[in-house]
Assembly symmetry: C2
Homo-oligomer: 457 residues x 2
């Protein structure tokens, strides 16, 4: 550690006492732990209780040129939490207060360390809910950082759509509010959307005001099967084109269904499968389900069953809920690596099919699940990282998929973010626009202390 | 005109010939003409045909430090088109090609000079439509610049929600693409949303990719009346809280109805009125209208009639369609000045009621129309600008309304933008965040040539 960083940690210790830890185990737990990217721990971890502590910590780090990396739940997938230059990790998880729920305006204001499940637990008696549901029980601060979405995004949007306003501790320690609680505004630059997806490189989000939604009068869930992934994707495209306001539409490929059958002791046809959910009034849900049944029949969809009973719905969706663990269980000692391509829906079938061909050609295991209503899908590549051939094959598959998505006028990352793992594709994806992102970064964080070495190389 | 600007115009003339005009009438027509703000013409107007011409013009202006102001339709309301430091006005209206409509993905890519009506005219046989409808038949480029919305925003969102990607000529003349056509992305900073609402201060939008929507199977329109504005707003708030997916919900106050009766020879009750529209399936629209009827009854709503027949729908909405001209006709020789406050919906009734009190206390005429489902409303203040007392009163009303909206955690501008007219409120509205907007502006446009002296003082 540099002399300057040792001074910074001294000063942080004076200010924060035993809220600061330099314990190696703590530091490792607060860096990247989710995929095969190396763990690069910070020099110290600070557990903060309020925005003033965040601000003070940033000011000290700014004084010594020490990097600052915010930590929420630790569930990011692209190395966003790593500290390649060392620095201070600020653990936001104790800033977990629900500040205010405004039922009349359908908004909630929460501290950044509140998890999505904690918010929904808090809302359970209000008739309202917060729809954004990435795989993990992430913190809302982390979900802002990566512009997270999930299975509900096809109906309710992503973090960019549901966040009204942010409170952010900026690189100079100043705390700003990015917007009011008005539902729309034309008052100047959209700093809210600039911070969303910036992965902690422009400031640390301390408080978040989100839109809430009414729990639907009726929820219907269903499952159906297709001869192959291509026909399933065609059915999805047609469903979206019909303007059917589907709340969830998730693809599992044959390999994923096989994994789920084994893991959750199910007995599903091991073929391309769609899991769907309809939100609306009692009659609206029946209408939607009926129309959906008609659409899928045109694309070889079979055995469509659906139900509005909660217990039966949970049973129908059981395969999806355990998809991650089921995939990992296919090869327990392998590393799991999730891809995140997102393409215009007209290209989805081709993109998924070509990717599966790539996987099969290299005799790898990579089940596919997809938020296919948005053109987004994940391959869970299971890789023995001690086997050089496998690692080379995996890298080839990743690389080819990222370029394929970009060539289709899509993106290499629909919801996980760039972090360290996808930096090499940003030039291809953004071209000249990347330089303007960098100039914004430099203007707001001239000393490059906020989560450096992320998003671009 | 400065020596440098004369040189710049020489060079522009060499490059563009008679596409460049220095005619005073042309210059005045291309500056602000909509409200009582003074007209401040540019030094020359250039009519461009493609992005390369935009890029070349910007490069020449950059070389000579000459301001660049983009012109679409001329319908902005806050002086966005004025050239207080002189400069070049780039008229985008000839860049009016529909580049591509992708029915499968529900997207359209258009040049910036395409108007919203031209796009919908083009789409008329596709079963798709573009929902954003500011009062004027604005160009999509202009609508991006001001983050426009309109009557459909309560259901379909604003420009920030429906734009997928932009092509922008930046201050160095470089042309960038802000995003792919993927429906969602977590790949770096959201330059799309940064440009939307930046009012030409960061670059000139040359091409826009937007989401399209399916024309609903059924449209129902209706009208109902309330004892006062407060009860109408309470009914709106409850409608939104119920999660009723209303497509339009517009408030007209008693004065506005009176104006519409006179102008359009109608015979409506001259009291607070809501005009509504429901989009959905045949049964869905009946459900929505029935529920809406039940809600308004709780707030003294009466005489609710609605219909799905197109001719009858048009008749019901006639009052709204001519509201602008009807207001102006109340006092034909007065200047019309539109306010644009937007507040959390829980504060809407109070904000509108207090504003009407302000107007009445000063014996001014100011009918109110509102996109009240979003908490946004406009007062059309009719002011004799030769009467100093009236002007002072009008300024007082504007000032008090802007501060009131900001105090209610809302904004002084929901959809018109800041331009020159609302700059004095930005400090109050944004606090410390304003400095970061300015630093972004400086980073991207260091010589301040892009629409200078707008958004902030």
């Amino acid at each position: 550690m540099s002399h300057r960083f040792i001074e910074a940690i001294d000063k942080l210790t004076q200010r924060f006492g035993d809220k600061l830890s330099t314990n190696m185990t703590v530091r490792v737990q607060h860096a990247h732990t989710m995929t095969w990217l190396d763990n690069e721990p910070s020099d110290a971890v600070l557990s903060v209780m309020d925005k003033y502590e965040v601000s003070d910590a940033i000011k000290i780090c700014q004084e010594y040129g020490m990097p600052v990396i915010a930590f929420g739940m630790g569930s990011s997938l692209e190395g966003q939490l790593n500290a390649p230059r060392g620095g201070l990790c600020i653990d936001m998880s104790q800033m977990n207060a629900i500040v205010q729920v405004n039922n009349e305006d359908l908004t909630a204001t929460v501290q950044a360390g509140v998890t999505r499940e904690a918010l929904n637990q808090y809302l359970r008696d209000t008739g309202l809910f917060f729809p954004i549901d990435p795989g993990a029980n992430a913190t809302l601060g982390g979900m802002v950082a990566t512009r997270a979405s999930g299975t509900n995004a096809v109906r309710y949007g992503t973090m960019k759509d549901v966040v009204l306003s942010l409170e952010v501790a900026m690189p100079n320690g100043e705390i700003i509010k990015t917007a009011s609680r008005a539902k729309k505004s034309s008052a100047g630059y959209d700093l809210t959307r600039l911070i969303i997806g910036s992965e902690g490189t422009l400031g640390i989000v301390t408080e978040i005001t989100v839109k809430l939604f009414g729990v639907p009068e009726c929820i219907g869930s269903g499952i159906c099967h297709f001869p192959n992934v291509d026909m399933a994707c065609q059915a999805v495209m047609t469903t979206i084109q019909f303007g059917l306001p589907i709340a969830r539409i998730e693809l599992l490929d044959a390999m994923q269904v096989k994994a789920c059958n084994a893991y959750s002791k199910l007995n599903l046809s091991e073929t391309a499968t769609l899991l769907v959910e309809f939100h609306g009034t009692d009659t609206g849900v029946v209408e939607q389900a009926t129309l959906f049944g008609e659409i899928i029949a045109d694309f070889g969809g079979t055995d469509f069953v659906w139900d509005t009973d909660e217990a039966k719905r949970k049973q129908l969706w059981a395969a999806r809920h355990n998809a991650y663990h089921a995939s990992r269980a296919l090869r327990p000692h392998a590393s799991g690596l999730s891809t995140d391509a997102c393409v215009p829906i007209s290209r989805l079938a081709e993109c998924v099919t070509d990717t599966i061909k790539d996987i099969e050609a290299r005799q790898m295991i990579g089940p596919v699940v997809g938020h296919v209503g948005d053109g987004n899908f994940h391959v869970m590549l299971l890789v023995d990282t001690d086997n050089d051939t496998e690692v080379a094959h995996a890298k080839e598959i990743l690389e080819r998929l990222a370029r394929r998505a970009i060539d289709m006028d899509g993106t290499c990352t629909g919801e996980h973010g760039v972090g360290q793992g996808k930096r090499q594709y940003m030039n291809d994806e953004h071209g000249g626009a990347l330089a303007f992102m960098k100039s914004i970064k430099h203007a707001i964080d001239p000393n490059n202390i906020m989560n450096p070495d992320k998003i671009w190389l």
